[in-house]
């Protein structure tokens, strides 16, 4: 099994941290994992990617990830056609958005979560990444939500663990139009 994931957000939103927490949570749940950012200079506001590989054997592969099983896109605005094309058939995508996202592919599952609203509610404006993580765990069933929550609690406190939980409960699947 080799599972590949993309996270896409913007500089300052904690995209890299999100990838790393997910990989750690996977490790804690007995899976091998690897997480790496898109390499390059980081600027606040610029689109930023982060990748995760999860496998039941040691991950040796170090090639760029060109296709992925899952995409987590922090803001609907960052979604583009090319990115959607890169998701493997049968995969899924979680988008940070107030409203259901339109889409062009029906061979993948679409989810959305109003991450911004959640972090506003909980007054954690910098925790968009944690919200996206929560949503991801709840729909992916690869890494237990508990593990992520646990890491977040240890590192960022209970308030942020709540962000994770709330997002997990709020993520919504978009019904296929087709």
């Amino acid at each position: 099994m080799l599972f590949e994931l993309l996270m896409l957000g913007r500089g300052g939103q904690g995209v890299v941290t999100a990838g790393r927490i997910f990989a750690e949570a996977a490790l804690k749940s007995g899976l091998f994992s690897q997480s790496f950012p898109e390499f390059g200079p980081e600027r606040s506001g610029a689109p930023v990617r982060s990748y995760v590989r999860i496998s039941d054997e040691p991950v040796m592969l170090r090639a760029p990830i060109e296709n992925f099983d899952v995409a987590v896109v922090f803001e609907r605005k960052l979604l583009d056609h090319r990115l959607v094309e890169m998701i493997r058939s049968g995969g899924l995508i979680v988008v940070g958005s107030e409203t259901p996202v339109e889409f062009a592919r029906s061979d993948i599952k679409w989810f959305y979560v109003d991450a911004r609203k959640i972090v506003e509610e909980l007054n954690r404006p910098r925790s968009i990444n944690l919200a996206m993580l929560g949503a991801l765990c709840s729909v992916l069933h690869l890494v237990p939500l508990n593990n992520v929550e646990e890491i977040v609690r240890r590192r960022f406190g209970e308030g942020n663990a709540e962000v994770v939980r709330r997002a997990a409960s709020r993520v919504v699947e978009v019904e296929a139009a087709a």
Binding site: S44, G45, A46
Partner: protein, 305 residues
């Protein structure tokens, strides 16, 4: 030299194009834009490695509408010396025309790794204007201490706050015998623009030190850049003055300085300074500000312009 007095004197002279990849609210970019709006053609810009270079020259794009060259991190002043002297030689031979050389460099490339090249160029007396946009750390590599980082500021290499004072680059360059050394802030755009022109008009090596708040590295919200610059000046932390041939003038007197805390509290890099257990650092910081200001006053008195 044409004095700049209103914004329409500058409008339409853009030297930097949008589409660069600086962070939202980048102070360095504002400063550089203002410099280029003011500078009188013809000129050539030299930059060392750093935020400015990386955000403005990602092949196959460039944000530079003026000739620009980057060679390495530590040698902008040496490259500029070469360009300047070469154009002089070519002009004499009828193979080219002299053009003013302007270096625009970060504090790391100026105070630290590029300092020797800078000092050498000043000693040799090249006809160039060296401008340092000072964001008080190595921002391009992710916020590490430089000699320009102020006492107490946290960076990724001074996780508990820097222990040393900010290097007094302007005094050091005055001691180099430069005909014109000045400081400026982008919130005082007119002062800045006129200093660029004045510096450019002198023969010999001149220096302009511009405060360039960095939302990413100083940890403040991107809309506050100009506010922060203004506070740096109005707390006397960043005095605005000029020195011509060793004679001083304070351009922005600040008779009633704003409390230093106002400046510090906007920026997360100083957050710990406001904690009671760090009162002694805050005190040292204040003393530093005061003693520099007093020194400046005394110099302006002993060597008035």
């Amino acid at each position: 030299m044409m004095q700049v007095s209103k914004l329409t004197d500058l409008y339409g002279r853009e030297g930097l194009s949008p589409g660069h990849t600086a962070c939202q609210g980048c102070g360095a970019t504002i400063a550089v834009r203002q410099v280029l709006l003011a500078a009188e053609p013809p000129y050539i810009v030299v930059s060392p490695t750093g935020c400015l270079e990386v955000v403005s020259s990602q092949y196959p794009y460039t944000s530079w509408r003026v000739p620009w060259v980057h060679v390495a991190f530590e040698n902008a002043a040496a490259v500029a010396s070469g360009v300047e002297a070469a154009l002089r030689a070519l002009e004499k031979k009828g193979l080219g025309k002299r053009q003013k050389v302007i270096v625009i460099a970060g504090d790391g490339g100026t105070f630290d790794i590029g300092f020797q090249a800078l000092s050498g160029a000043f000693e040799r007396g090249h006809n160039l204007l060296y401008i340092c946009y000072d964001n008080e750390a190595y921002m391009n590599t992710g916020i590490q201490r430089s000699a320009a980082t102020p006492l107490g500021a946290t960076t990724t290499t001074t996780p508990t706050g820097k222990l040393e004072m900010k290097k007094d680059i302007t005094s050091i360059l005055v001691a180099h015998g430069s005909p014109y050394v000045a400081t400026a802030s982008p919130h005082l755009w007119k002062d800045l623009a006129n200093k660029v022109r004045k510096a450019q008009s002198k023969e010999g090596p001149t220096f302009l030190h511009i405060v360039a708040p960095c939302p990413r590295g100083w940890y403040f919200d991107s809309h506050l850049t100009i506010k922060v610059a203004k506070l740096a000046v109005e707390t006397r932390i960043f005095p605005i003055y000029e020195v011509e041939h060793g004679r001083y003038r304070i351009n922005y007197p600040v008779p009633r300085p704003r409390p230093i805390e106002e400046y510090l509290k906007l920026q997360n890099r100083f957050a710990h300074l406001l904690k009671p257990e760090n009162a002694h650092i805050l005190e040292a910081f204040k003393q530093w500000v005061e003693s520099r200001w007093n020194h400046l006053l005394k110099m302006a008195e002993a060597f008035p312009l």
